[in-house]
Subunit: 231 residues, 2 copies
DNA sequence: ATAATAAACGTAAATTTAACGCTTATAGTT
DNA sequence: AACTATAAGCGTTAAATTTACGTTTATTAT
């Protein structure tokens, strides 16, 4: 012992938001806790930090374990440390959040872990402070959506403007004028229009776009800010 | 032992920014570490979290210990948890940041703890990842200054517009057009002009203002955003 | 009286936002 | 072959905001 102070468990909890393009709604990944206290109840995915494991590595491990995914958006959000938050002992939990593109393959992987995707407005009761964590994540998602091109993390590589619009409407929980949205998002120059159309949503078909990371990096210094007005 | 996992030390580090109205510059509170490793070197103020102490209570305790202050702006910022960050053992550090009004009394209290105020552009070498922490805090300060009325935490209760302007210039590290600044800040309606003048800076004297928290709370829902252009 | 100076006030052009109407492309129907 | 319905895409204009910079005011020191 080098320091004369109490030690504690340090855990990772990870808010995983997924967006289903076809269903057009935001979902949260939850799983049924395996250990007591609260075994069997719904909670965010999580785990304890290992001896020689960096916090960020722990978060990556947790995400990989439950989703099979690597290299997706994953950032630290906040740390929860009320002394009484976990009846099982003094556990300080570092909350991360992640955004992933939801498709059928992803849904399969998740099912095999006793986990499931829940619509944000139909969440089951959550363990401990996990509902607070969720609210914090939604706020962060809204904040970041205007400030960073975070929306693209939730869409497939190729997407249409109507899809992007509906995603933003989902994030903000309000409707956005499509004509102004179009102008604003295209004016940023971070989108590249492809010569392909997605005809699943209409007879005319909507052009597919891709996010141009290089353009975004150029823009970043000058500041990137998208605000969408209510309608 | 309820959980079969390793435990760790959990520490609090606290970035304390202070603004000296007369000197017109931003300072950071540092102290000389008392324990090994790194005893004698400059570090942020900090301490270990106690057995039954909430994280936020720990942060308040640390701040109170070093500054004698209570009830000032204090928020969690981020958590640092590289396995190798502290050669003295596995320590996960939760970083808080605080803003205080610097005056001569405050400077005295601080001196008595072997601590000191350093100009942001003249920091000594810092222990471990404390320089990264500082950079994170400066970014956060800049971000929050446009989004929340955080600036007022750094000024005395009664302040003048030129003082507020110079504070913002300090935070952003750039000059701001005084006429536009005035219009923008007054348009928010969160300032109340008093019938007093501060004549220390000019012959004419500048009106003193106070921050109106009620007006701010009204405004908050509709969104509060201040952007200042370069000149 | 006059000069010097920080503080305070004002204005006009340029840019951005908000609101909303119109056109286009295509599949399915007649 | 023409017609219809509909999502997608384009365009315009008034209002609001931002930016840039000129002017006036109050006071002390000369």
């Amino acid at each position: 012992m080098t320091y004369q102070h109490p030690t504690m468990w340090v855990s990772i909890d990870c808010l995983v938001f997924g967006y289903d393009v076809s269903e057009e709604n935001l979902k949260l990944l939850l799983f049924q806790r395996k250990v007591d206290p609260f075994a069997g109840q719904w909670s965010l995915i999580g785990g304890f930090v290992n001896e020689n494991e960096d916090l960020s590595a722990g978060a990556q491990r947790v995400l990989k374990t439950f989703t099979g995914l690597d290299g997706v958006f994953l950032e630290q959000l906040s740390t929860f440390g009320k002394a009484s938050r976990d009846p099982g002992g003094r556990v300080v939990s570092v909350l991360y959040w992640s955004l992933i593109k939801l498709d059928s393959i992803q849904k399969e992987v998740v099912n095999s872990h006793g986990a499931g995707w829940f619509d944000l407005d139909q969440l089951p009761e959550l363990v401990m402070d996990h509902l607070d964590m969720t609210h914090l994540g939604i706020e962060q998602l809204q904040r970041n959506a205007t400030t960073t091109p975070i929306g693209f993390e939730l869409l497939p590589e190729k997407f249409t403007l109507p899809q992007l619009l509906r995603l933003y409407e989902g994030i903000y929980g309000k409707s956005i004028d499509d004509r102004n949205f179009r102008k604003k998002i295209l004016a940023t120059n971070v989108l590249v229009r492809l010569d392909e159309k997605d005809k699943s949503g209409s007879k005319k078909g909507a052009y597919k776009y891709m996010f141009d990371e290089n353009k975004y990096n150029e823009l970043k210094q000058r500041g990137y800010h998208l605000d969408f007005s209510i309608r």
